[in-house]
Symmetry: C2
Subunit: 457 residues, 2 copies
């Protein structure tokens, strides 16, 4: 799996034009590595040359792994014949994924070079809403009938299994394609050849609806340790399956999306180095703008109380520390809750349990931070640094603010994501940056209130 | 899959003591759902009663899904006989997971009730470092010899497959257990009964070392779309496999861990509602303390330039806005880079490409935010709100600071995670909260420098 070594070997064989050896070497490489290697070949003509040395099956597997950009370039270089060969070997869900990414002219060429059945299947998949279970399923699965014997089943698998993405989970359907049972190749192998499927199939079949979210489907697949999740339509007719490798991709995509949202970035599924500067700017600027403008509130608060602060100018020095501490505390709570919501560990019904827990956590976090801060101000800042402006009462104001703002930050941090979920928003957008803005305003007001009360300014 | 319905039905059958019906109903429920249902039964006696109605196989599957707490309680309630039955049905990697979580007395009882072979296998797994591939693998896999025919292979699978977690990927080993090939049940089914395995097995086998990180193993499994990843020792001897369902769990765990670290929380894999208040406090307080204390720098900066700020007190009003904007910009960059590093989209070698991109993104983000801020200050704050203290030069100072701090925040945000990775730290700890502290200090210095230069204070 050493890329540099593989690259050198390929380059060397390519320079020597040692085609037999090169062909053997290339076809021995796993398709996922192959795709990575070919994407890094900058010479377009060399890339297509190498690609053409792959066997039909390897070519198709590798093609699916390329990014959209490389796929488009290769399709332009393909003859109709070559394109047809690659498409023939591909699974329908992969073809549908590619069609979705390509410009209209390329889509036309792809559809022209697939048979009618495939074309119809692709169209069906593309009609489902983005991010729905229907949009990522494949219509290619093994279906059996309940009165088949194990021997019949194996015959059917041998006959039709070659083009199926997975053959290990077999679905039992009735005459109108309703999903009535499920079994596995493992079960089939462990039963006798003459056993009837109906007698040992699992009839309590867990399935997902075409319109369910792809995340729901993937999480369910992971929960039940399935290799494939059956997808049914409104009438419980089996229309496709989601395979475990696609489910993992969805899980990773959704994680990336959540992480981006938590960091106030509009989600994108393009890898970092392939996103242009302007594209990256477009994903980041909306939240920065919104958050900057909402910070007008803090400016207004400080402007309003300008005279009070001028009377005790030492207080200004702690504003950044108070803002950061509040933001960090709120961020911890919100991110924990967002993740727990997305893993299904907590639900809307737990809101009061969550708030009660966060109040207690906030209180002991606030108290411990407040005590440390008090000691630091009185011993370090006042004595070591000799800052005589930091009086006992100033320290008390700062530390009481810490206690209060942390409790407030924890409550806000845990409540907002749950409320967002309740009203149908994505909880992930309620993460630290958003909560920071709210906590900032509250902290400043608390700070000034304590200052007025204790310092009598 | 309606939990409330299932719960009611069970309660009803339980009240009626309708054992036959109850037994049938319980054994029809998927083990993952079953575990969730039983965990929510608060009456200990009722739980063990219901659990005892499960078939041996269902009982073991359900038991594995319970949290450690419930497992421990059940083990205490089990007779030795019952415990042995459950352990017999469990896969070795699952038993090892449980042994790891239990107190010594329970571990002793578990080991006493397993056979010698299992005990040795568990001990081997437990000896591998935490989070290594070896610690999550299972030693139960299908191994074949290269001179077997397809028929021999199926015979072997039928004979030994029952206790194996997965039978679909079959590994070909030589006499000293070296991994020399791999094939799948699909391949076996699609070849003729008399074909020899050596003729069609894949010899370019991708495997993982026992000491590799579990995350590396899971990512590789996902990259290559495997159902199981073979794990070999230093001599390339096959010692176990990691199955796809465990790989998904690792991926989710690592994602949770990254997200927690990014939010300045010490990672934990206990679900939110099961973590006590003190436990949660312990996970959150270290970072809050560290970040609060490091904010001493900003306090020092503000104290040092106290007189300058007093001369233009309007500047104080914008400090929270500047801090937040810098923190958010840096957070966007760092989180994007952390995620790309963890998905393997970028590596150490890309550092200059990354910095160059972030400088450009930072510049146009900074320029656009600066312009909007300038317009807002001059039109809204000055004219609409009538704040005459906001002069043209004050606005220029604020907006130039925004431009500079954003570029700085982007550079720091993208550099620190890569450097962390380089020196062997987890990049995720270099996320927003940490970067905020650094960016705050830089922003303040830039702000004051501009103020001194432009406002001549």
């Amino acid at each position: 799996m050493d890329f540099e070594e593989m690259k050198e070997r390929i380059d060397c064989l390519y320079e020597e034009r040692n085609l037999t050896e090169l062909k053997n070497y290339l076809n021995d490489i796993n398709f996922a590595d192959m795709a990575q290697l070919l994407e890094n070949v900058s010479d377009e003509r060399k890339r297509i040359f190498l690609f053409r040395l792959l066997t039909k099956e390897n070519a198709a597997d590798t093609f699916v792994e390329f990014d959209a950009d490389t796929q488009e370039k290769l399709i332009h270089a393909f003859s109709d014949n070559e394109l047809r060969e690659v498409l023939d070997e591909m699974y329908i869900d992969d073809t549908a994924d590619i069609v979705e990414e390509m410009p209209a002219s390329v889509v036309k060429r792809i559809l022209k070079n697939t048979d009618r059945e495939t074309r119809e299947a692709i169209n069906t998949i593309l009609k489902y809403p983005e991010d729905s279970a229907g949009s990522i399923m494949t219509p290619e699965f093994i279906d059996l009938k309940k009165d088949m014997t194990v021997e019949d089943a194996f015959k059917r698998i041998r006959r039709t299994g070659l083009d199926k993405e997975t053959i290990y989970t077999c679905y039992v359907t009735d005459a109108s394609r309703h999903l009535i049972g499920v079994t596995t190749v493992k079960e089939l192998l462990l039963n006798d050849y003459e056993d009837i499927i109906e007698d040992f199939m699992e009839t309590n079949v867990i399935s997902i609806n075409t319109l369910d979210d792809q995340e729901t489907a993937s999480n369910a697949l992971s929960k039940y340790d399935f290799l494939a999740m059956p997808v049914v339509d409104m009438e419980n007719r089996l229309v496709g399956i989601i395979t475990v490798d696609d489910a993992i991709d969805v899980i990773q995509e959704e994680n990336t999306e959540d992480i981006q949202k938590m960091a106030a970035i509009t989600p994108t599924d393009t890898p970092y180095l392939k996103t242009g500067v302007l594209e990256t700017w477009k994903k980041r600027i909306p939240w920065l703008l919104l958050l900057m403008i909402s910070a007008t509130i803090t400016s207004q608060i400080l402007t309003t109380f300008q005279n009070k602060l001028a009377a005790a100018s030492v207080l200004v020095a702690f504003i950044p520390m108070l803002m950061d501490t509040g933001g960090n505390s709120g961020g911890q709570a919100s991110v924990t809750i967002i993740r727990s919501l997305s893993l299904g560990e907590i639900g809307l019904k737990d809101i009061f349990k969550v708030i009660w827990k966060e109040i207690r956590v906030g209180f002991i976090c606030g108290a411990s931070l407040g005590i440390v801060c008090f000691a630091k101000l009185m011993l370090f800042d006042r004595i070591v640094l000799g800052n005589s402006a930091i009086s006992l009462s100033v320290s008390v104001v700062v530390c009481l603010t810490i206690l209060f703002e942390i409790v407030a930050a924890k409550i806000i941090g845990c409540t907002l994501p749950i409320i967002a979920k309740k009203i149908g928003f994505d909880p992930a957008v309620m993460a630290s940056p958003f909560i920071t803005t709210i906590v900032d305003a509250i902290s400043l007001l608390v700070y000034i209130a304590f200052a007025v009360a204790i310092l009598r300014i």
